[in-house]
Amino acid sequence: MDAASFLFVAFGLAVALISNCSRSRLWRSAVLLLASICFLGFLAHNPIVFLPLAGFLLLGYAGILLLERGWSGTFVASLSAILLAYVWLKKYTFLPEGFFIHSPYFTLGLSYIFFRVLHLLIETKDLNEKRRIGFGAYLLYALNFTTLVSGPIQRYDEFAKDQFADEPIALGARTVGLQLERIIRGFFKVNVLAMLFNLVREDALAQLAQPLPLSLKLFAAFKLAVVYPLFLYANFSGYIDIVIALARLMRLRLPENFDRPFSATSFIDFWNRWHITLSTWLKTYAYNPLLIVLMRRISSPALQPLLGVFSFFVTFFLIGVWHGRTSVFIVFGVLQGGGVAVNKLWQLGMTRALGRKAYKAIAGNLIYASFSRGLNYIWFAFTLFWFWASWKQIDQVFSALSVTAWIGVWATAWLAATLVLALWEWLRAALLSIQTAEGPVLTSRYARVVYASTLGLAALVITVLLNQPAPDIVYKAF
């Protein structure tokens, strides 16, 4: 149930169907709450394992209640308590081993609950007008089964606007068709595309460890270098497609989490398109406050641009560190933060050297944009080694070839990514340019029905015939 399986989709569709039996908000909320509890029940059968999660939720709600009652002095204490509880329950390795609970307990989705609870705490403190969040509404928001496992991280006001509206948002045949098509697309991405990309990665990893001729090893290294971002995108965005569509069928709009990330021509732009709700959350609650504090303390105009660079580094370092509990993720964070910071420095340097207009013209140049797109892809692919691999695997992978060979592999990968992504952009634009009076043919409902049927059949046949469980969603581990 915690994967993009037939069972999960069937469960979501059944809940959507029941939810639409009445338009009353009480009914829809009751159905969502019951479905979310059932969902948790499917994931773990022993109620005891939920106690730490229940404690975490109660701690968060207590903090919110105190703030709602005007005890703003408790904010820092509540925030610290939530942060500590999160680090403790997630068993971050910098804490002593004896400090942890050693009996098994449920932590799936804890990171996403953590973001939602922190958001509520901060918003409750900052909100000028008084707002009361009932415990039921809080639980619904925190445990909504469509966002529990891997997000997206929705703001409370957006959730409440749809969930508690007297008149829920419309759900006609067109919307239903569109959501069904999106579910099929998501299912295909996770169960077919991601599965295939993962096979390439696993086989390449095994080949690198074997005594093979250099040419085969170089090819394996190339595949290993380029394939993981595609796998991760298909796996994560496919799951997000499914949950957004299921939620929409329950008349609930979830925020988008991806916007064609590999079309980005810079690393900063990339993070505006990849895991959007996470980067937006951190920009709101880490980047902006940090930049404001720094600008207040350091007033030198010459240093102002560098403060932005520093804030970028810290924000994206935190994004990296959030992904895991071990030291590998610190490097991942440094590489994310470093990538964004260097990107910002490059933009500043180029603007200073060439002038804003000239730099903008260069950045818009087709060849420059294509190479930038390729570089962005390859940098992200490189950083992901510290995302999926352990130190032991990283050592095995990078010691399988000489430094020169690896440089050659990454240079080739950059060139290949540049060409393939440029070709993809051109093809997409060309296909979308085939239009009738009402818009592109490719996005018409007739075309969508054809490709949804094709993807659905392929996904069904492959899933059934290969006789294997649905692949795990990578981001559920965080």
Partner: protein, 405 residues
């Protein structure tokens, strides 16, 4: 053409779908599915060909007590999707022995090989099977004139092997080599797979007849589950499915995932399930009977386990999931065979020395191909001449390496 545009649905008011689309869109979906499925199947049929009616043309009508037997002095050709044309020639005793059924030549050390389709060399030309390669290698290494009479028969389960021991002894062997593969252990109903008459009933009749029988003898959920398994088996037999598996199983990790998810890998699972334990008890009885008869004839009985594709791949990788042990059946069999006084020859650890042993098997069918047979012959030669069988012992051992393949 009306558009499906996400932004359009942000508005509370949604345009109605034209009435014709309620008919047109499902029809379009159906047409797409039919066209796609049909064209892929046609393409697969052009790409993958197999003969009819396979090796079954050489088989006597199935006797439920006596199992499958080849028609004496028959010859037939067979082609699987994955293999080339293979000729099966059976001697006057109905064995693919590569020699006539009769007494051995003077001064010859005769090994009689017993077992099922793996040792028989299903889907491989006889001269490339390990049954043909092994005596050549053994003769070369021991300096003795060694011949191997292959009595193995497709579809023969362990119990039938025990029942046919009198025929084995009649061949006057100097040694009996019993080559078992894990499929022999967990094969439930061999007759359904190899019965030449199975094809004669229609798919629908087959489904309905079996479901109707199941519903009266089993619980409803078991009957439905069995029906689903039969549907799945028929789906897997479509040429599209074979093509898909053929492409997907080129990836070792995919092959392993699919294999380990199915019942066929239960013999490697930890802890063992009840079915496996029952099968092992059955093997214990059959091994006791075979060993008793060999002992009474004063013949050495040598038993070996031939690995299946997934097992060989796992051993080569040296890494497997926590609930899997590729040596499990090997260890259990060794304990049983040695307890009954037989000699167990263990070739599984030798698979650690080769990098991609899975390439020695037909990916879907699962039988060893010519490379796989060559590997088995090499490993058996090494183990048989290392002292396990005193009559075949040689003092200096050549190294087993991949170059030798």
């Amino acid at each position: 053409m009306t558009q499906f545009d996400s932004s359009a649905f942000e508005n509370d008011k949604e345009r109605k779908l034209p009435r014709r689309d309620w008919i047109l869109l499902p029809l379009l979906s159906l047409a797409t599915i039919c066209l796609l499925a049909g064209s892929v199947e046609l393409l697969a049929r052009r790409m993958l060909t197999e003969s009819r009616p396979f090796i079954a043309a050489c088989m006597e009508p199935l006797d439920s007590k006596d199992g499958l037997r080849a028609i004496p002095n028959s010859t037939c050709r067979d082609k699987k999707y994955e293999s080339n044309w293979v000729e099966y020639e059976f001697n006057s005793c109905g064995h693919r022995a590569g020699m006539e059924c009769g007494p051995k030549a003077p001064g010859t050390y005769r090994i009689v090989l017993i077992g099922s389709s793996f040792p028989m060399g299903h889907s491989t030309q006889r001269e490339k099977t390990f049954a043909a390669l092994l005596p050549i290698a053994l003769s070369r290494q021991t300096g003795r004139n060694i011949e191997l009479y292959n009595q193995a028969m497709i579809g023969e389960n362990l119990h039938l092997t025990a029942l046919r021991m009198n025929e084995t002894l009649a061949l006057k062997p100097d040694m009996i080599l019993w080559a078992i593969d894990p499929v022999d252990i967990n094969r439930e109903n061999i007759s359904e797979v190899f019965n030449p008459q199975t094809d004669s009933t229609s798919i629908f009749d087959n489904f309905w007849f079996r479901f109707n029988a199941d519903i009266h003898s089993k619980s409803f959920s078991s009957a439905i589950s069995d029906l689903w398994k039969r549907v799945l088996r028929h789906l897997q037999d479509t040429r599209s499915a074979v093509l898909l598996q053929r492409v997907m199983y080129k990836s070792r990790s995919q092959y392993l995932k699919s294999s380990l998810a199915g019942d066929d890998s239960d013999f490697m699972r930890i802890p063992a399930n009840a079915q496996y334990q029952m099968e092992l008890q059955n093997f214990d009885k059959d091994a006791a009977e075979v060993a008793r008869q060999a002992k009474s004839a004063n013949l050495p009985l040598v038993v070996t386990l031939l690995p299946v594709r997934a097992q060989a791949a796992l051993i080569s990788m040296g890494d497997w999931p926590a609930d899997i042990d590729p040596y499990r059946l090997n260890n259990d069999m060794r304990a049983i065979v040695t307890r009954h006084g037989g000699t167990y020859v263990d070739i599984l650890p030798d698979y650690r020395s080769i990098t991609n042993p899975e390439q020695g098997f037909l990916p879907i069918d699962g039988h060893p191909n010519a490379d796989g047979h060559a590997t088995i012959a090499r490993f058996l030669t090494k183990e048989l001449t290392s002292g396990a069988v005193p009559a075949l012992k040689v003092t200096a051992q050549p190294a087993v390496s991949e170059q030798g393949q």
